[in-house]
């Protein structure tokens, strides 16, 4: 039970990050490997905001959202937009370049030592604590689910949401409907990066240290989650994140296999790719001009 809640809570962090990968993949047809580093930047934004004289967690969170969203939009505009129509390999290499760039900048500015984020914890709730459940896990799980519900509603109800679905299926046809495809791609990067900033916040509740490579592991795991769920599929990213989070916590809770947790997770990825290359909820789609 505790393992399940911990797993789902970790899973919602993975899911929030996986959503960024999957939305960008679905709409811009590219793997944004710098996405994990947006989480790292978000974590430093919280670290900076929390080191002022009178730190306010709400202000810290808001500044992290703003920094991440702007960064996502900037990266898209200056690194990826000039490559629209270029070969996928060129885009992929650029994304890896952006990833290293962000990590290097963080290292130059903040140094390579982890920076402890002070004051970033939640009060203990006695009732939950009796059962060994942390407040952070519960808050992460509930907030994660609320954010995912909000995103689902946004995509299925609003005009912009339906335009995103249209662009993900057929850019040319979407243009014929009068949809500004470039604008939709920008909005997608903005939303994905904003979700990443929530992931930063939840991540710091578990490990309150900001460091330059912080985004790498959760980034690659969330990418795994997105592929397991079916890259390009929004419910798939949520499902994949949750599944991976639970598996990770279960593995960690069993002493004999806990050292092999990461290996097991990536084996799962390989297994899924062999059995069902499109992931749980992925669709085989035809590509069109």
């Amino acid at each position: 039970m505790i393992t399940l809640i911990d797993g789902l809570s970790l899973g919602s962090i993975y899911a929030l990050i996986a959503l960024g990968y999957t939305m960008v993949y679905g709409i811009a047809k590219m793997l944004n490997f710098a996405h994990g580093d947006i989480i790292m930047v978000g974590a430093y934004a919280i670290y900076v905001a929390m080191s002022f004289a009178n730190p306010n967690p709400v202000i810290a969170l808001i500044s992290s959202i703003i920094v991440c969203t702007l960064l996502g939009v900037f990266v898209e505009k200056f690194a990826y937009k000039p490559l629209r129509g270029a070969s996928p390999l060129a885009v992929l290499i650029t994304a890896i370049g952006v990833s290293y760039f962000l990590q290097s900048v963080a290292q130059i500015v903040f140094g390579s030592q982890p920076k402890p984020v002070s004051g970033w914890k939640l009060p203990k709730i006695e009732f939950l604590n009796q059962f060994g459940i942390t407040t952070g896990a519960v808050v992460t799980l509930i907030a994660g689910i609320l954010i995912m519900v909000a995103l689902t509603l946004f995509i299925n109800i609003t005009r912009t949401g339906s335009a995103m679905l249209a662009v993900s299926e057929d850019k040319g046809a979407a243009k014929l409907m009068g949809i500004n495809v470039n604008k939709i791609i920008t909005i997608t990067f903005a939303i994905g990066s904003a979700l990443a900033s929530f992931a930063s916040m939840f991540y710091l509740l578990q490990i309150p240290n900001a460091e330059p490579t912080l985004g790498a592991m959760p980034g690659i795991k969330a990418f795994t989650a997105a592929v397991i769920g079916g890259i390009g599929s929004i419910p798939g990213a949520m499902l994949g994140g949750m599944v991976l989070g639970v598996i990770e916590k279960i593995c960690l809770s069993i002493e004999v296999i806990s050292p092999y947790t990461t290996a097991i997770e990536f084996s799962l990825l390989i297994l899924i790719l062999l059995v069902k290359p499109t992931g749980f909820l992925g669709r085989t789609t035809k590509e069109k001009v």
């Binding site: 335009a163 046809a173 014929l176 409907m177 009068g178």
Partner: protein, 236 residues
């Protein structure tokens, strides 16, 4: 004055010169057929008109507005809708959502309602299947959805790329019947077709495209009796 005027259009795919100086006009209220064999460049012309491809040179004017300088997503609000080759409906969305996306540029709720009624009136099957996922419609129904989606803006001009492709004769008749009705309702039609017989039977004038050039033009009723056209395109 011509509603759509194309002058000396040149289009390239890399080094391949697909359209080699094409000029033609569509006047208000007409049905114009553009016929030609596979690879003649018909789709390329329509894609260039609605901005999906940028021409190397030449003019495209719609009601005096330079379409070459207009981004693709702004063309539909000028009153020009395009039913693309292969339908390209949004397969994973419902019939209703597809039609709603057709009216993406409209903001007036009443106008959208009215256009829904117009489309449902011409295509009752779409009204019955509002909630169905578009990808599960039959080919003929998908063509109707593609056409209905384009009509959701109540366009002044409708561009259609091979609406008869892959349809049974009954559906072809049905689609052409509706094209006639839409035209009578006041929409100008530019119709690209392989089915030259059908296209010429409904059109006012026609252009024959051959390897990126217009080889023949005239009244549809004359072309249908032209010996060369008969041999090359009507299979007689």
């Amino acid at each position: 004055m011509a509603m759509l005027k194309i002058e000396n259009l040149q289009v390239y795919y890399g080094f391949i010169n697909a359209i080699k100086g094409v000029s033609f006009e569509v006047n208000e209220g007409e049905i114009i057929a553009l016929i030609g064999a596979n690879g003649a460049g018909k789709t390329t012309i329509l894609h260039t008109v609605t901005g999906l491809i940028t021409p190397k040179s030449g003019k495209i004017e719609f009601e005096g507005i330079n379409l070459v300088k207009t981004p693709a997503h702004k063309i539909v609000s000028l009153g020009m809708s395009h039913v693309p080759e292969g339908r390209r409906i949004f397969q994973q969305l419902s019939v209703y959502d597809n039609l709603r996306l057709g009216a993406f540029t409209l903001t007036d709720k009443k106008q959208i309602e009215k256009n829904f009624e117009y489309v449902y009136h011409h295509f009752p099957v779409l009204a019955e299947r509002k909630k169905q996922i578009a990808g599960t419609l039959s080919g003929g129904e998908q063509q109707m959805l593609a056409m209905g989606r384009a009509l959701m803006t109540n366009p002044k001009m409708l561009l259609m790329d091979e609406p008869s492709m892959g349809l049974s004769p009954i559906f072809v008749n049905e689609i052409f019947h509706i094209i006639g009705e839409v035209s009578r309702d006041g929409t100008t039609v530019l119709l690209v077709e392989q089915n030259a017989k059908k296209a010429l039977s409904i059109a006012d004038r026609a252009y024959v495209l051959e390897a990126g050039r217009i080889s023949l033009e005239g009244k549809a009723s004359d072309l249908i009796n032209d010996e060369n056209v008969k041999k090359a395109y009507l299979g007689e």
